[in-house]
């Protein structure tokens, strides 16, 4: 990726969840949208893929997305908690993930049911 | 298509799409409650009916479609 700043920082990782903070200075916010910065939904998907790739220690890609539901918007500066459940099926991994506000598990931002390879 | 045949097909595709038991889809049951529809999944139902039956449910008509019987009548008269 050409940009020099990261979209997010990982603050904490444990077996249950990952704590993340969206970087306010990422250049994507200049274009999404001018004057009204909102994290593009597809970059949230990439963030989850990168987190799972870190868990598994190899680069993964989505082979299928059964459902990805954007429940609420994510803005620069938001602190988020990612819960992920990874099942190894041999030739692919099943991923169930929930992204919510860092301090409020009821404030769900995204629900994902997907497969990666 | 006979109405019975249409209803059978409708129950089958709705149960499949919204992951509910076919038995739960009774004519007098409430559509939104039975299939746990919200504003997003309601659009899925409209898209599915259009795709499978070629019937376009108009947005202003949606509030009048409360039960499955309402939906069957609406679609059948427009086939």
């Amino acid at each position: 990726m050409a940009q020099n700043s990261k979209l997010y920082d990982i603050l904490e990782t444990d077996e249950h969840s990952i704590l993340l903070k969206m970087n306010e200075n990422h250049p994507v916010y200049q274009g999404h949208f001018p004057g009204n910065p909102i994290t593009p939904g597809v970059l949230t998907l990439r963030m989850i893929r990168e987190c799972v790739s870190r868990d598994i220690r190899r680069p993964l890609h989505y082979s299928a997305i059964k459902t990805c539901r954007y429940v609420a918007l994510i803005r620069p500066g938001d602190s988020l908690r990612l819960h992920r459940q990874i099942t190894n099926n041999g030739d692919s991994l099943s991923i169930k993930a929930t992204l919510s506000h860092a301090d409020n598990p009821d404030d769900i931002r995204l629900l994902l049911d997907a497969e990666m390879r | 298509m006979e109405k019975e045949e249409m209803i059978k097909k409708m129950v089958s595709i709705l149960a499949d799409e919204f992951e509910v038991e076919q038995e739960a889809i009774q004519p007098e049951a409430n559509i939104k409650e039975t299939m746990h529809l919200d504003s997003l999944s309601l659009v899925d139902m409209v898209g599915l009916v259009n795709e499978e039956f070629g019937v376009e449910i108009k947005t202003p008509d949606l509030p009048s479609l409360k039960t499955f019987a309402d939906l069957y009548d609406y679609v059948y008269t427009r086939l």
Partner: protein
């Protein structure tokens, strides 16, 4: 509703997204139910990975912006301003084949399946060099 065929390369007149995340460079609306878009991937595209290949999320953004261009086009025909749209959900998405690299052109065919209020459901198919690489259903909320 019946609308005339329409073609433009002036994408910023139809959607509010701007660089570095502008992911459509050509848009054709055939009729009220079908449209098509293109993107030739530049070497500085933000979705290019270390492997030199485009990430699948870049294709999903291209599809979302194609749906947004359709909505923007319809809004302009109705005399309304282009507004911001968000992805509501993505379903039945499958990714297969080799991802494109800089210089390749994405071609996306969109079928509008339904519109209820401010939510548009589309079915999308994206191909590169005649090979389908991604299909999905997507909802856009405007």
């Amino acid at each position: 509703m019946s609308i005339p065929a329409y073609k433009t390369n002036d994408i910023t007149s139809l959607i509010p997204q701007r660089p570095p995340i502008l992911m459509v460079d050509g848009f054709t609306c055939e009729n009220e139910q079908n449209c098509q878009s293109t993107l030739t991937i530049s070497s500085d595209n933000m979705f290019l990975e270390e492997s030199g290949l485009l990430a699948e999320e870049g294709i999903l953004e291209h599809i979302a912006q194609t749906a947004a261009a359709y909505v923007g086009h319809i809004r302009k025909l109705a005399g309304e301003d282009v507004n911001m749209g968000y992805i509501g959900d993505i379903k039945r998405c499958t990714v297969s084949g080799l991802m494109p690299a800089a210089g390749d052109t994405l071609i996306t065919h969109l079928t509008i399946m339904s519109q209820v209020g401010n939510i548009t459901l589309v079915s999308a198919q994206t191909a590169v060099n005649g090979q389908t690489i991604l299909t999905c259903r997507m909802k856009l909320a405007n």
